[in-house]
Symmetry: C2
Subunit: 83 residues, 2 copies
Amino acid sequence: MPLFMDVHSLGDGVTMDDVAKAHAADLATQGEHDVNYLRYWVDEQAGQIFCLVEAPNAEAANTVHRDAHGLVADRIFAVQEGS
Amino acid sequence: MPLFMDVHSLGDGVTMDDVAKAHAADLATQGEHDVNYLRYWVDEQAGQIFCLVEAPNAEAANTVHRDAHGLVADRIFAVQEGS
């Protein structure tokens, strides 16, 4: 399954709690799109979020965010993990 | 130990092999700076690299990149991992 890193640049700051709620909504939504949000990292002060996600394609990953909470990523990158 | 996600936006594309060599140089250098580069992800076509790193501070993480291969990150974010 292709791997993606998506990037949200909110600018205004964000709380771990708010992101956790959005992530829970992603997990509840992703199954029907064959998407698997794996891990995420948040810079609360900078309002920056990184989500690591397996998905058939970038649009499927974005669709989960859109359906779950409406906050789609600003950018999404097709990545490979180094070893 | 604080956690950071650093972002390299090379623009021109990059190969996994080249990034693996730079990462190996990071690992050989980091000990003296109390830094631990944990994982990294690469979008070869976009020339985008994400490095997850534990470090006492952002400057220490940057110093390892600078000493190891000179390719410092374009941005570095103080992150917490979600769960």
